[in-house]
Amino acid sequence: MKNEIVHRVYDFLKEYPPFNLLPKEAILKISSHVVVKFLPDKTILFKIGEMPPSIFYIVNEGAIHLHQEDGQMVDHCDEGDVFGIRPLLAESPYLLTAQSSEDTILYCVRTEDFLPYLTHHPKILAFLASNFAVGAGNMFFKKSTTSKSANNNIGENVFTELFTIDTQKSPIYCHIHHTIQEAAVIMATHQIGSIVVCDEDIRPIGIVTDKDLRIKVVAGDIRKKENISLIMSAPVICVKPGLSIAELQILMIKNRINHLAVTQDGTIHGKLIGVVSEHDLVVQQADNPSILIREIRKSQSGEQLKRVRDKVERLIKKYIDQEVSIPFITQVVSSINDEIIQQAIEISESKLGKEIYKDIKYCWLALGSEGREEQLLRTDQDNALIYMQDDTIPEIKEKCIRLAKEVTAILHEVGYEYCPADMMASNPSWCQSVEEWQLTFHRWIYQPGEKEIMMCTIFFDYRPVHGDVSLANTLTNYIFTSLDKQEVFLHLLAKNALENPAPLSFFRNFIVEKNGEHKDSFDIKLRAMMPLTDAARLLTLASRNGGENNTCNRFLALADIEPQNAELYRMAADAYEILIRIRTKNGFKKGDSGRYIQPNEMDKMDRLLLRNAFQPIDELQKMIKVRFQLGGIL
């Protein structure tokens, strides 16, 4: 018979990770053994040092705060958040104290019901690993906020599949016949904190850490001339290569060790390939998107946000190094960038007074590359604000501008330079009501001069990032209606799109900048990326296909709409990906936005890729010329 109480618990659990990753029968089974606990406000659930019972918790209603010994809050768990798993797997005492911060209902889940699914569901491992890292990694942030946003789960299910520890580097080890001193010398030379002891066939026998040296040799009575085997721990826990971070972390926690030896066959009888330390995992984990997003949500200042954004840069570098696909990287990084903007707005609203902004309907728009969801490295700010005129609110425009000034200042602190052309929401002409924006676009579209067309190229890639999305949609609809009545505008936009011709004829060299600061370097943004962005924007507007901003996605969407040109569009999308990759790599090398490239510094492969990426530009421009009948105008 269907038990309604079990189903009630099931209906809740199935919405939240890690339970949402399990099959229905499994969740039902877990639900039938759940214990429901009501915790009045300010009740302590468990304390540091207590041994956990064989259950962990998920918040059904209310909130739990996890504190360190000094009372500092480490995590805030509210509806759907899971906590208290780590000590269970490790069978070690709680590291934090849990206390309710309001009247709270918890579902207590029996570990024994849950453990069987751990090994079969890599996504659950991934979830748990990110969960643990959150507990350990962000202790330096004092306050947490609970703002929830739509892309809550970004990263949660992607990161472990992408990352495996690189165990291919040649491992450092010592032989079983070495003395303690010899082993210590090897450790010192390679600056490592632990060393695996191997037999003649490089099979791991034991492991020695700094701690063993300190306690057993320096402070103990074993002399350094004696054999290393006297102080090593044995056997070593071995794993096979290619495991995910999550799996490695769970193994360490379960065995309560900090090092794993990687052997060919995963046993102590295989040849040693590498060593993974907990530190290695923490370093990789720290740059995990889901964790970065949680850190962003906890940030209370531009300085804290900057620290996270710096880590994002490391993440991008790792992705680029590992040749992760560009669409994936841009998607992840855009989500993170959006979170930063949202948190900057959150901080600003709190500073100026939340009640002031409670009733103002507004929407924050990202423009330019962030609007197109293809910004990887920090560039100049391009943003705008649109609000709903409301005569009952005095000085609504001033209030919006004041907010935008705060936000842009925080973003500046994070490392997004102020826009030199002042195209930012803090500028009164970029902070307008819906009606004002419609007038602005009307002017641009119906009286288009060179400047107006340029404004359009910047502004047409807007994307709502925070606030009332319907305001942005109203504007989009207005623009499309206006375009229908003003075909000549698209011709001018087309003309603009041809302004930067393809940079390379087949056998000639790169066109490099002739003057100024960047003399002799190649402007990849102006010469290669902008022609593609402009073409994609123009063709998308002409096909009235709103809602897609990303240049690659625009080309792919166009390929569906116009099968006869599908091949060209796909080539263009590929080319754009290559350009982003090359620009980003260059940016890392130079420590800037990567815009200016020294052609002679590029390796041969990248030069070739870059050259091929120029090809579709020329073909696209020819097509645009014919389609918009620009022969006469040009």
Partner: protein, 229 residues
């Protein structure tokens, strides 16, 4: 042998109330008096709800019983009760023409089995329910018609507790209609899911009960004696 049997029948015919069905005898045997000095969180409560064929104590019957146990603000889902009582009337009436609905009515436990399970579950715990008097009356009727008798447990009504929370000196002066289960759900932020199933309502009532005793404890109601007052 025959004589003994006859004596038994005679004995029964004299309507001696001391001869009960087994379920009720075991219930009486285990029953323990309440310690009113006990703190609330040490006491176990059984929160229950019944679904019936209607609201008439004479004509209508229990269709299902749902119950959960609360000890120290905790409900163990595995230790909950969800009984469908096989309805003998429907069974005899529709012995031939059976459609889907009747089919489900035919499932479930016989009233005898249901009583065994229920009385075993309820033990000496304090019984809690919303407008519990009606459920208790229906349970008494079922018990008596199968060789049992009344429940000796103390009983608490969440509707009354809520009114007592709002108006300690004269709870009865408050309008009962303002204290329906639905209204308490809204007030105590409980999602009214699976309403009108016995176990679903029992669970909802249990959550509300825990929140009520928490609020009452802030007003000095901390031991059982005070709670039952």
């Amino acid at each position: 042998m025959i004589w003994k049997k006859l004596k038994n029948i005679l004995h029964f015919d004299t309507a001696d109330k001391e001869v009960y069905a087994d379920f009720y005898n075991s219930y009486l045997q285990q029953f323990q008096k309440l310690d009113t000095k006990k703190q609330i969180h040490q006491q176990s409560f059984v929160v229950l709800d019944t679904e019936t064929t209607g609201l008439d104590l004479v004509q209508d019957n229990i269709l299902s019983i749902g119950a959960v146990r609360i000890i120290n603000n905790t409900i163990d889902i595995a230790d909950s009760l969800s009984i469908i009582v096989k309805n003998e009337q429907i069974q005899t009436q529709n012995a031939v023409a059976i459609h889907g609905l009747v089919q489900t009515e035919l499932k479930g436990q016989s009233p005898e089995d249901a009583l065994v399970t229920f009385f075993d579950f309820v033990g000496s715990n304090i019984i809690v329910g919303h407008h519990i008097d009606f459920d208790i009356a229906m349970l008494h009727k079922l018990s008596k018609s199968h060789g049992g008798d009344v429940l000796k447990n103390n009983v608490l009504d969440t509707s009354y507790l809520a009114r007592r929370l709002d108006h300690a000196s004269d709870p009865h002066s408050l309008d009962r209609k303002e204290y329906t289960l639905d209204k308490l759900c809204t007030r105590f932020n409980v999602v009214p899911k699976a309403r009108h199933t016995a176990d679903g309502d029992a669970y909802i009532t249990a959550i509300i009960f825990m929140k009520l005793i928490q609020k009452l404890s802030l007003k000095g109601v901390t031991n059982i004696g005070q709670l039952l007052k």
